[in-house]
Symmetry: C2
Subunit: 227 residues, 2 copies
């Protein structure tokens, strides 16, 4: 879904911390990696499991704003205000590697390429989010969900997992929150997908039957609103 948490271009191989296996942190389901508002202390690389970021707005709404899976870098959006902009919770048993801020600064000084890549990733992400969300803004529930699963599929594919069968630790409530829909609508739409033989879901396991058609749905159906 988001390139922020998918920094494929980053020369992460150059960072020993992230590849030496002893420095893992273990989280159990429901544990917080960090809480909203905590001062920025560093970035995290997800090794196994998955997490969701929940941001609580000034009006006390909590929104799921990101989903991180193995290989994703978590915490980049904290750099701006030097604090984590949302609470990040483990959705299952999860391990992460830590990249402390000091080390990040050092590395930034040593490797200009890293800094540059980081900037690029951020810039890219700004545009992605803008476009994606503005697109979602004028899409039906059907298209939003189709888009969501196509994006997830792509994400799994890039990691070398099956793009057609995967498990999402997110609840329907979380998915709804992420897409701006109610649980009921998510549920009903998934039922429709099932009936149309597009996507079969059982609990948190998903099986895409017709990626082509889903992609078309994601792009096609929408409300108007030219420029």
């Amino acid at each position: 879904m988001s390139c922020l948490t998918l920094p494929l271009g980053l020369p992460l191989e150059d960072i020993p911390e992230l590849h030496e296996s002893q420095m893992f942190t273990l989280l159990r389901k429901g544990d917080a990696l960090f809480k909203q508002g905590m001062p920025f202390t560093g970035l995290f690389l997800v090794r196994s499991g998955s997490l969701k970021q929940v941001s609580t707005t000034s009006t006390d709404e909590s929104l799921v704003t990101a989903y991180a899976m193995p290989g994703d870098l978590v915490g980049l959006d904290a750099i701006g205000q030097n604090a984590y902009p949302g609470t990040t919770l483990a959705l299952e048993t999860t391990t992460v590697s830590v990249l402390p801020q000091e080390r990040l600064s050092e590395l930034g000084a040593q490797l200009p390429a890293l800094r540059q890549q980081l900037c690029r990733n951020l810039s890219q992400e700004v545009h992605n989010e803008r476009l994606m969300l503005r697109l979602l803004l004028r899409r039906t529930a059907e298209a939003r969900l189709a888009y969501f699963f196509v994006a997830m599929s792509e994400r799994f594919r890039r990691r070398g997992y099956s793009p057609l069968r995967f498990r999402l630790a997110l609840s329907r409530i979380d998915i709804g929150s992420y897409l701006g829909l109610t649980v009921e609508t998510v549920s009903r739409t998934l039922a429709r997908f099932h009936k149309q033989e597009l996507l079969r879901s059982s609990g948190r396991d998903f099986h895409i039957l017709d990626l082509e058609a889903l992609s078309r749905l994601a792009e096609a159906s929408g409300r108007r609103g030219g420029a």
Copy 2:
């Protein structure tokens, strides 16, 4: 609306190019500052007038994705893919200062603070857009528009202009596109605001009568979808 185009923290004072008055580029209404897909050549600082960024998606929809007014920095979202992600058009007679890429690199090397600030602005922006749009995703047309005008008001205020009376060169179509609404809905909602004595609009001139109430509207009315 967006902090990307409002980089108040940037030490722009240190960049002579942006403050020597001879280096202006003049654009007439409808002129493109750059077109979508063009390779990144530099950033622009808006001196007078205003511009809109229009991004055309793979499905041929054009979405207004940003609005730039005097003081805004334009082009930051091009750094990621080394190309401008949208066409930027002058909405009226507009002047901009140019900050070419080479100069930007030089400056980045000389002033680490600049680079850092740039990164921070980008990171901040990622989070802002995420939150803002995800919030809009679950808001009624009324709340979206209220939010839009409150944000605009704030933006004018910061620049030293009146936060209650201002002119937006955007058409209703553009505003609709920006917020994911149809023209008709924008028009009808503005009519309602007028009737409720919240916001008076005549053409492209806007006069906020009750900022308090608008803010409340922006936050309150919404659909559900917890986390």
